[in-house]
């Protein structure tokens, strides 16, 4: 198979739906499903059937981003850009007839959501270019929008070295939180001697308030598989695992479907697209441990052992799964690859800032008007994200802080809202980019309570292997609890700070090393809140 063949396959799919002019797209991702999207979908298909075959097609699609306003329905002319679609929010089954009747005419005003709002116009969709547009369960639907074209191109026209070079040029950095340069990681493993190598997609998204990877896997699963296959070709691997947490049943189902359909079409398995390249993918389910997002614990879990981290070095690039060189990247990192191959590394490097390239998906949660998923270019300020895209703080409350990076991150107060969002700037404020969770807090939030919450999370998620993390998080949680209840002393606070230092410096893996971050950052910016709660000795 070459580029022309895949273009032909795409054309076939388009021909099949040549008679369709308008698509009524219903979000069938987890958050919209939980607010009743399946009923809306049923009502719309029922109403459409009653109308008889026409130029309109009702289609289940992936996440449209504005999760708090679900179920979302979009009506769009088939090949129009998403900005021109008519979007409906909080759709009920009763609205189905009105929506279908409005096609081609004026939108149904009572549920209409204007797509010229900053939430839509300020985004730059790379990873999410297809989400909310294609049917995640359709293989040819993905091919029709240019899917697997990058893979076929790499397999038939590029050498593995050229693929690595393209990714290196793009400046892409790991989207799981660490921000390690992806090209460097790939080239390290590509340089390991020829032999058994593995590719792992880390889909064990566990930060509270983060759901970017879930949406990608539920909305565009083939994109991730394509990225993994390109990676496997570049480093010389023939086997891949998607380590997916079992708490995401819909994502598991869609990735399973995607793997099955891609295999059947010859896009995964042996002799992919009639080349000499073999690559097989399997899903491994995570059993609910946060620490299994840490790469060495994740690999232990895939091997069937207790999910506990190991000291590094040796790094997975050298000795990973079953001791073989292993590439581990996050879902979003793999999802970027197809765009980088299609448009070139230079194109990707043109987006974002000097040291943080491209765009990043963030999950907005907490006290913010537009709860949901956004994809914005790196370097955008926090203020733009929160006040413009996010629509500000609801109920007339004032902004207090935004928490980034989950339990490993920190809180950023109002005076630093103009900081550009990139890996290095966030580090200077004692937080991290993390995987992309952003929890916005208004003036009613108690920062000691926030720190206590995250410490409790780390305490219960500590695997128990190393002493500082196992017992230190527990002691820190106890001290935070004492302080939050108004029973703490200055001595308790001093001890808390000392434990933060010890746990940070001595823990075995990233979970323990970063567990004190929420405390340290709230102490840095909101120390007065701690001190107000202390009692005199």
């Amino acid at each position: 198979m070459n580029i022309d063949d895949i273009d032909e396959l795409a054309q076939k799919h388009r021909d099949k739906y040549a008679g369709i002019e308008t698509e009524v797209r219903v979000c069938m991702a987890t958050s919209c499903q939980s607010s009743g999207a399946p009923l809306v979908f049923e009502a719309l298909t029922g109403a459409q059937k009653a109308q008889g075959p026409g130029t309109c097609r009702v289609k289940g699609v992936g996440c449209m981003g504005l999760c708090s306003a679900g179920p979302m329905v979009a009506v769009a002319k088939k090949d129009e850009p998403p900005e021109l679609e008519v979007l409906y929010r909080e759709v009920k089954p009763e609205d189905a007839a009105d929506i279908l009747a409005s096609v081609g005419g004026a939108p149904v005003a009572r549920i209409h959501f204007p797509t010229d709002a900053p939430f839509f116009t300020r985004q730059q969709r790379i990873v999410r270019e297809n989400t909310g547009i294609i049917d995640p369960e359709s293989f040819t639907g993905y091919v029709a929008v240019g899917g697997y074209r990058s893979m076929v191109q790499t397999l038939t026209e590029m050498t593995p070295g050229a693929v690595v070079a393209e990714v290196t040029t793009s400046g892409l950095r790991g989207r799981g939180g660490g921000g390690y340069p992806t090209g460097l990681k790939w080239s390290t493993i590509a340089k390991m001697p020829v032999g058994q190598k593995y590719v792992i997609c880390n889909a064990d998204e566990g930060d509270p308030g983060a759901f970017m990877d879930r949406a990608i896997l539920e909305s565009d699963p083939h994109r991730v598989l394509e990225g993994m296959a390109i990676a496997a070709y570049a480093i010389g691997a023939n086997k891949g695992y998607v380590y997916l947490r079992a708490e995401y049943p819909l994502a598991v189902e869609r990735v399973e479907t995607a793997i099955r359909k891609a295999k059947r079409a010859g896009f995964l398995g042996n002799h992919i697209c009639e080349t000499q390249f073999n690559f097989d993918v399997e899903i491994r389910l995570g059993a609910g441990a946060f620490v299994c997002g840490e790469e060495t614990a994740l690999m232990a879990s895939i091997e069937g052992n207790r999910g506990q981290p190991k000291p590094r070095p040796p790094y997975p690039a050298e000795s990973g799964l079953w001791g073989y060189p292993t590439l581990i990247n996050n879902v979003e990192t793999f999802a970027n690859i197809t765009s980088i191959i299609r448009n070139g590394g230079e194109w990707y490097a043109g987006i974002g800032t000097e040291r943080s390239k491209g765009a990043k998906v963030f999950a907005l949660a907490g006290a913010i008007s537009n709860i949901g998923l956004i994809e914005v270019p790196m370097g955008i300020t926090l203020r733009e994200i929160i006040e413009e895209i996010g629509g500000g703080i609801p109920n007339g409350k004032a902004f207090k802080a935004v928490q980034t990076g989950g339990p490993s991150g920190g809180c950023i107060p109002a005076q630093h809202l103009d900081i550009p969002v990139d890996y290095d700037s966030l580090k200077t404020l004692g937080t991290i980019m993390g995987s992309g969770g952003m929890i916005v807090m208004d003036e009613t939030s108690d920062m000691v309570d926030v720190a206590r919450y995250f410490m409790e999370f780390c305490m219960t998620e500590s695997c128990g292997k190393c002493v500082p993390c196992r017992t230190g998080t527990q002691q820190m949680h106890g001290l935070l609890d004492t302080i939050a209840k108004g029973q703490g002393t200055h001595k308790d606070l001093a001890l808390l700070e000392e434990l933060c230092e010890v746990v940070q410096a001595t823990s075995l893996c990233g979970l323990g090393q970063t567990a004190p971050n929420p405390v340290l950052s709230t102490l840095r910016f909101f120390r007065d809140e701690y001190e107000q709660k202390l009692i005199a000795e």
Partner: protein
Amino acid sequence: MPPLAATPASVRVVTLNIDGKDYSARADETIIEVCRENKIPIPSLCYLDGLSIWAGCRLCLVEMAGQSRLFAACSTQVTEGMTVSTNTERLQRYRRTIVELLFAERSHVCSVCVSNGHCELQFMAQKCGVDHVRVPYRQVRNQVDSSHEAFRLDHNRCILCTRCVRVCDEIEGAHTWDVMGRGSDCQVITDLARPWGESDTCTGCGKCVQVCPTGALVKQGTSAGEMVKDKHFLPILARRRHAQ
């Protein structure tokens, strides 16, 4: 006749600097092995010569020139020109805190412990200068398993070093022991968390009792201070392991 050309050695020999003095080592040795060989004291509770590396107690952390993070001496291989500090003020402070955390986690009351005077945790506290514990004791009551005819397991004195797990798996080959649970709820278990006395796999060899650093695994019938380890056991373990 000239001698046959030597085949290149598969492992290189390196020189490194520990606490201001130079030492030679094989490149496949870890820092802790070099330190033990040269009588440089490095505290550790989970490391045991002859068993696999666990890197869980974090007491053997050392500083390395040019690196801001700390390295576990047990899991870090030596490299040429490496400069290591094993006993800085910062490391002493961290070690003291870690030992305090261990004391506060479960119930370590030396005066009534069967291992009083023969306990590695107790020695460690003395060596690290722990004269009191600043963090609050957690006062959790754990179970004691006396079901085995020869040995007793007291979770209250366990520090989860997993020496028992490793010796049983790697030396005895029984894999009776394992760890269950998460965080501070972790416990060492026999078989699938059945009473030790009912274990199908335990051979009753007692290796786990010999390697236990505290009074968590002891012989039946011992009272305060009476649990004395066989002083020949650990050297034999190391020798047999290295002979393999």
